[in-house]
């Protein structure tokens, strides 16, 4: 196949971009080093986030796309429309839950407040004494590695996947592969997650490490994806370490427990002190968790930009190169919306929402 577009990276973002471009009529080649990435390591929570208007626009558009795709996805994608409960520990967080509901309502996103008693009925495994929660029923979860393969498969003959590692991008847009081959296309999409900074050192992307743990199967323990409202403050610190209560009921009956955030390390090792802090936080909310058996713990690297928004658009000076990187802790959710925007920019089509906030920035320093 003679590709018109080459996508570097077959994680969830590269896969979604490949499909959007194929649907726009392009012949797409995806090059993937199979070195693993965040897509295989993350939680797969499909969640509308509203820290700023640009994040809300992207995650809202994306969540709607996921809901539209869900009925066609196979069981291997493990989609579940479990919704999110943003758990408020005290009155202050309950006030934040109300503000969040107002912000979501202003953008047509359904949500409802649960008082302490309603929260206890919805999730009896949570400790007593919590103030309440905001329920966002439109959120869901997916098993991202299989969803990525599924997205690529939807492109049929218009997408070709080649197992190859890109070693360098030359000034004229020629790709040098690890096996010595060289190739190029009229347009190239850089979608290789944290490794993007290896190929383009000018990108303002830093690794943000996260720990996760999964338990054995205990069906029915928890029904919604549960996240502490304090997450909003803890997850977005630009430096330092933090943990937040974040528990997801997998369709298998397993509980996936997160999450931690650490800057300035690229060591993938599971760190016992960090894991312990994270689990202590989870047990504070779900005391029964301490009695369940864990079967695995692992880490992943989020690709973080200074302002938390992905870089989507034409690279300011590199020939032929388009960017779809820097999705931090929200890339599974925001892959479809990112792909929609990028494909629109690349083909000159009209996008459903404004691409300006994600335009590659901070590259001229």
């Amino acid at each position: 196949m003679d590709a018109e577009v080459i996508v570097i990276g077959a994680g969830i973002v590269g896969a979604a971009c490949a499909l959007a471009l194929a649907q726009a009529g392009r012949r797409v080649r995806v090059l993937d080093a199979q070195c693993g990435g965040a897509t295989g390591a993350g939680m797969g929570h499909l969640v509308v986030m509203d820290d700023n208007p640009a994040e809300l626009a992207l995650s809202r558009h994306s969540a709607a796309q996921w809901r539209a795709l869900a009925p066609r996805m196979g069981a291997e994608c493990a989609y579940s429309a479990c919704g999110t409960l943003w758990v408020a520990a005290n009155d202050e967080e309950m006030a934040e839950a109300e503000r969040k509901r107002e912000r979501l309502r202003a953008h047509g996103i359904e949500s409802r407040l649960l008082d302490a008693a309603a929260l206890g009925r919805a999730e009896p495994a949570l400790r007593p004494g919590l103030a309440g929660a905001l329920e966002v029923p439109g959120d869901g979860i997916v098993y991202a590695p299989n969803a990525a393969r599924w997205l690529i498969a939807q492109g049929g003959g218009a997408i070709d996947v080649t197992h190859a590692k890109v070693d360098a991008i030359e000034d004229d847009g020629t790709l040098r592969l690890a096996d010595g081959r060289r190739c190029t296309a009229a347009q190239i999409v850089l979608a290789n997650g944290i490794e993007a900074a290896t190929l383009c050192p000018e990108l303002p992307i830093r690794p943000k490490k996260g720990h996760l743990l999964i338990t054995d199967r205990y069906p029915g323990t928890v029904r919604h994806q549960l996240v502490e409202l304090g997450y909003v403050t803890s997850a977005h610190h630009a430096s330092g370490e933090s943990v937040a209560f974040n528990v997801q009921p997998r369709p298998t009956g397993q509980l996936l427990v997160g999450s931690s955030r650490q800057f300035d390390t690229t060591d993938p090792a599971v760190e016992a002190p960090m894991l312990a802090r994270m689990l202590q936080r989870a047990v504070d909310y779900l005391p029964g968790l301490a009695q369940l058996q864990a079967i695995r713990a692992w880490t992943g690297m989020r690709a973080a930009t200074p302002d938390g928004l992905p870089l989507l658009g034409k690279h300011p000076w590199r020939e032929k190169l388009w960017l779809a990187v820097g999705h931090e802790g929200l890339g599974v959710t925001t892959a479809p919306g990112s792909a929609h925007l990028l494909a629109a920019l690349m083909t000159g089509a009209a996008a459903d929402f404004d691409a300006a906030p994600y335009a590659p920035r901070g590259l001229l320093a």
Partner: protein
């Protein structure tokens, strides 16, 4: 020690094994393929690595989820498989 035996129950059936045996070994003594549990899809799963890594040998021991290969049989122990 070598002659001593312990008696435990696997899915309600009495099984006698040499003292010091793992529950994974007792599953085999109890007969058949030594199945510990079933997968989400219903497929039988048996101990695989024997050293606490693969997690395929999860059973319920005296009401607690445990690894059969990492648990030594004790007199009167109650083991449930198939979860």
């Amino acid at each position: 020690m070598s002659g001593a035996h312990v008696l435990l129950h696997i899915d309600g059936r009495p099984v006698q094994v040499k003292a010091g045996s793992s529950v994974a070994a007792a599953l085999r003594v109890a007969g058949g393929s030594g199945v510990a549990r079933t997968s989400v899809g219903g497929a039988p799963r048996a101990p695989f690595c024997g050293m606490g890594v693969c997690q395929e040998c999860r059973v319920q021991i005296d009401g607690q989820r445990r690894l059969a290969c990492q648990t030594v049989c004790a007199e009167g122990m109650r083991v449930e498989t198939g979860r």
